[in-house]
Subunit: 383 residues, 2 copies
């Protein structure tokens, strides 16, 4: 029995993870669950999966849950997430949103647990620190993103072989082939309407700006230890090829599937096994009949360019990129700024930033907070 801690169990990844566990009750047991604000959903999950501990966002919600389940360990807030990461378990599936995923991942690795990582920010902001600890503690860091899971699968049989290129595919989002002029006009509703994947709001906007792909380039660099010069983004509107790897003999391996997060989740959860899945096969005479690839345009979708620049400069730049982006996406979701304000503001914030080299999670979080403040001010001043 694998003991699983799920951070962010009421979101899209979290609920699909619990579906998979539910279908494989003989192999998994749930040690802990967490949510930020969907407490009613969490209560339902507690009834179904009987965890030892849970964490919620606010103290008052913790009291409410504790009353319903007197024997349950109930925590709240960021400190509560760290407490969950401390529990005895085999694997932590981290589906938290944003930078708040970093500290619990770090603690889970410190305590020797494998990580199924659906939280990009852990590596975008904490890559060097986290990967050092992963090596030191000899834990597995298993990607849950469909792209990184694809790359991971392509590399499984090729451990000591030279990589020529990683080809990271991108759906292109709802605004593929738009010009900068057209992007000026796009609305929140349009940006939230992703053509292929049903995801949370933050990542859906990141997909529309293509910052999502920029963050994934950074994540891939850390996960697979390749320089960003070997990571290329390929727009692939059908979202069937989830990413590819070219080796030094020019052979390319690709992983494909329907756009269904259950595949990467179940691989990370069941690793090294592949769990059986009753879902339908990808039909190459239907959904997979025609596959296209296009060049991305980093002059229009500048978040791509900014992400490459940030990771190539290194140090605190990726943290600032990510922190500014999180703040600006939240502002866009609140209709405080327009769509293109996101990339324009990040560009300004990065230009004004002075390099720092953080050596702890706390220092990373401090740089992140500062970046958010600067980004918010800059966005409001330039609306």
């Amino acid at each position: 029995m694998k003991k699983v801690i799920i951070l962010g169990s009421t979101g899209s990844i979290g609920t699909q993870t619990l579906d998979i566990i539910n279908e494989n009750r003989d192999q998994f047991t749930v040690t802990a669950l967490s949510c930020r604000s969907r407490v009613d959903d969490l209560i339902q999950q507690i009834r179904e999966f009987s965890p030892e501990a849970v964490c919620v966002g606010k103290e008052e919600d913790a009291h409410r849950v504790q009353k319903l389940f007197p024997k349950l360990e109930v925590y709240y807030g960021d400190e509560g997430l760290i407490s969950l990461a401390n529990l005895d378990a085999d694997i932590v599936l981290n589906a938290l949103m944003g930078i708040s995923g970093l500290a619990p991942t770090y603690r889970a690795i410190e305590t020797g647990k494998d990580i199924a990582l659906a939280n990009k920010e852990t590596l975008v902001a904490g890559g060097a620190l986290v990967m050092n600890l992963v090596k030191q503690k000899k834990v597995r860091l298993l990607p849950v993103d469909s792209e990184h899971s694809a790359i991971f699968q392509c590399l499984e049989g090729n451990q000591d072989r030279e990589i020529r290129r990683i080809l990271l595919t991108a759906s292109g989002g709802p605004f593929r082939n738009y010009t900068l002029e057209q992007l000026e006009e796009v609305t929140l509703d349009q940006a939230l309407n992703h053509p292929k994947w049903s995801m949370g709001k933050k990542i859906t906007i990141d997909s529309a700006t293509m910052m999502n792909k920029g963050l994934e380039v950074i994540e891939a660099k850390w996960l697979f230890d390749v320089p960003t010069s070997k990571i290329e983004i390929h727009v692939h509107p059908e979202s069937i090829v989830h990413s590819m790897v070219e080796f030094q003999d020019t052979s390319v391996l690709a992983q494909m599937g329907l756009p269904d997060m259950r595949i990467p989740i179940s691989l990370a959860l069941g690793y090294p096994k592949r769990l059986p899945y009753s879902g339908e096969s990808l039909n190459f005479f239907d959904a997979g009949k025609t596959l296209h690839f296009e060049k991305p345009n980093p002059e229009v979708f500048r978040c791509i360019k900014l992400a490459y620049q940030a990771i190539e400069t290194g140090g605190s730049y990726p943290i600032v990129l990510n922190g500014a982006n999180e703040e600006l996406v939240a502002m866009f979701l609140q209709k405080e700024i327009r769509f293109l304000d996101i990339q324009r503001t990040i560009e300004r914030v990065l230009e004004e930033h002075t390099m720092a080299t953080p050596n702890s999670v706390e220092e990373i979080l401090a740089i992140d907070r500062e970046a958010r403040t600067v980004a918010r001010k800059s966005a409001l001043a330039n609306r």
Copy 2:
């Protein structure tokens, strides 16, 4: 240094193998070479690679070569190929054409050498016998076909994982989407004009009839130990995806590349390493920009259907399928019969065949000879 024996060194696969060896002289040495009739080419290769031994088709050619190279061991004929297979070496690359590849492969395995197999007939006719010996002798049987190399690469990191489907891709050949009526009229020149791959004549015709794909289904069944019910042919006119494997979690791995036999040859030769290759990368904004898949039509290209039936019936049927096909393709190349006579005659020959269960290479070769005689007679009687 890997010591390599190349059977069929003057053909398309053979010369590309020598190109690869030439670029990696620090890793490979050539123990033996063979040709059937291109003796001048072989003489050139002897000068360049200094093998210990060679084999030619005819006795008089052997004498001619021996005079030029007095210290060289020179053999001829089918017995000569067996003598080469007996030599001390690490790997035998078998690029012989047709059933004549079976006996030397068998002897090479008996003497504990790894096999790089570009000769389909070895497994089509001798699958059960050969695979038993491979297991007993614990040698590696490395596929050189682009499709089987692709499947091999997709399976490398997935050794103990359940396969849902093998998706064997096919270019569809020069007559893709033709009706039976249209196939009635096709000429030898049209059949020899393959849209994607430059290969020998026999395999080019097999590609036009799609028997090539039928033989590959049988080969895949033996190489990867999967029932034919799990092997599906997908027509893919671009010949970029060389084959795919779907696992039980519905994840599909695909291997891609330009249509270039150097990739599978160099993987088999260098295994477990991938050798560096200075060739250009597959460009997904050009040759790989759009990828299509189509259903094959086994009612028109009946060789597909006949191959599935032959392997599912088992025993001597695949030997008869292959023997009849070899004879009929030779007749078509001599303009003795028309294109559709190939599939029609094989169908009749299989219908009239009575099951046998051969237990040795000699018995397989006897069934093969009988099938050729029957096929020739039947084809001539029904022109």
